[in-house]
Amino acid sequence: MSNNVLIFTERGEDGDVRASTAELFGVGGSLADELGGSLVAAIFGGETQAPVAHVAELGADRILTANDPALAEITVDGYSRALDAAIDAADPAIVLLSGTTAGRDLAAYAAAKRGAAHLVDAVHVSLEGDDVVVRRPVFQGKLQTEARARRDQIVFITVRSGSYSPLERQANRTVDAETLPVEINPDDLRVKVVELLESKAGSANLEAADVVVIGGRGLGEAQNFELAAKLAEAFDGAVGATRAVSDLGWRPHSDQVGQTGRTIAPKLYIGVGVSGAVQHTVGMRGSELVVAINRDPDAPIFKLADFGIVGDLFEVVPILTERVRQARSQ
């Protein structure tokens, strides 16, 4: 049985290690120690200086890079080739990836090619005998379960972003990167990336606001979003949306807080008609105080709430908005 741990290092728009990937190095290092193996990081694409330095400071024992024009953008076709080469070189027992859109596609694709397990959405990873065990949310975050796979073959795991704290970077720790011989025929990229629209940079001040009001699907329809916006205005705060709401097209993607959106940590978070699906809550767990208003007493958001009102938001929110406005104008 092999005993190494390979981390697929996903890079952000700035080319450096994505925050959700930086989180993997702590748990990856512990798993490698427990297995008696080493922690290997794979970094694909050009301009790897910054991410190579970064993963070295996060504790990678070995760094594998691959560069080819076909790796300029993350695609399943291109990156699965490079990942194959990294797996051949690192001989890992476990491959860790961030639970991003790219990470989940890549892991499932690579696992299926090998007849291997892909354990998704892990919020906790551990070893039990010959098994790898992950804890993961199911039923849209209402419940959890443990999924396990035997280590007699390679196991792919995608980790939910926000599940682990990033390690302190060890300044001046360096590792020489090895270059993998990866060549990709451009015709093998069957999916071509054309452009990125509506980048999340530059919209409302969600990250900076002291008070953020989030509107969820419980608002019922797009025009009712006004209720959340007015409450935010009464606090001089910002308004954002859940994934369900941006999925439905009620609000632009740039207003979305959560897994595929933005991460906020305000002094006060108010969820209006927010159920608390994990796709959203990963983006708001750093909030100091959480207030939730929802009709469903079983909504998971109440488990995170310092103050919850089970009730009709269409009655509660206008009254609250008026009272806050009065209180803050005095």
């Binding site: 859109t101 397990a117 039923f139």
Partner: protein, 253 residues
């Protein structure tokens, strides 16, 4: 153009209640078609309305008669129920069964939802792509088709990404793609006359051995002992919330 739509029938996410003693959801929860999968069915029906010569087949693994009928009533042409050989299939075995059935047709487009609301691994679509040797585009929220070329808008972490690919391809879609139509009475009546076929999967037993397994379900530990206001008049509830906000100095301008 031949389109396959893959649908899973799931416990109604709004009706799911936890049975702590059984470590499972309460039995008898009503079953509904997975919401993302209905968006996939709607996308297929819209293509059939736009282009001539489109045939749509909806397939499901296991007993999901209502979900198949719903898709037929939306405008899908025929339905296939693939018998489930085991109650303990993992996503890879599921993908292998679906792939073996998909290979019996010649599909230009395989459409499904991004993930199911119950197990929700999101594994099946990319696994199908790997098993069938097809391209995968996930998180689809916009779809245009012309002369075998697909232009797709996807939701990813950094915004909306536009990609192109050619058929045949596997697409997994999000609800932002469209609003699935409600079946009309005429559609529902028409669905009764559409063919529904039951097929047995043709996959060797050793390929259905699970590579992963799950334990029982449990509720997330309650981390916050917060204040809960229930069964109060709105004014009284807001009074208490205002006092709470005051106490935490959150009403200062």
């Amino acid at each position: 153009m031949n389109i396959a739509v893959l649908v899973k029938q799931v416990p109604d996410p709004n009706a799911v209640r936890f049975d702590a003693r059984a470590g499972n959801i309460l039995p008898g929860t009503s079953q509904v078609p997975n919401e993302y999968d209905l968006a996939a069915a709607e996308a297929a029906v819209r293509l059939a309305e736009t282009f001539d010569g489109v045939e749509i087949v909806v397939a499901t693994l296991g007993n999901a008669r209502e979900s198949l009928n719903r898709c037929l009533a939306m405008g899908v042409d025929r339905a296939v129920a693939i018998e489930s050989p085991s109650d303990h299939l993992d996503s890879l075995a599921t993908a292998r069964i679906l792939a073996s059935w998909l290979k019996t047709g010649s599909f230009d487009l395989i459409l499904t939802g991004q993930e199911a609301s119950d197990g929700g691994t999101g594994n099946v679509a990319p696994q199908l792509a790997a098993l069938l040797g097809l391209p995968i585009v996930s998180n689809v929220i916009g779809l245009e088709y012309q002369n075998s070329e697909l232009t797709l808008k996807r939701e990813i972490e950094d915004g909306h990404q536009v990609v192109t690919t050619r058929t045949p391809a596997v697409l997994s879609v999000l609800t932002a793609l469209n609003e699935p139509r409600h079946p009309t009475l005429k559609g529902i009546m028409g669905a009764r006359r559409k063919p529904t076929e039951t097929v047995k999967p043709d996959v060797p037993a050793q390929e259905l051995q699970p590579v992963q397994s799950w334990g029982s379900l449990f509720a997330e530990e309650q981390t916050i002992a917060g204040i809960m206001i229930q069964d109060e008049e709105p004014e009284a509830a807001v009074d208490k919330l205002m006092a709470f906000l005051e106490e935490h100095k959150l009403l200062e301008s």
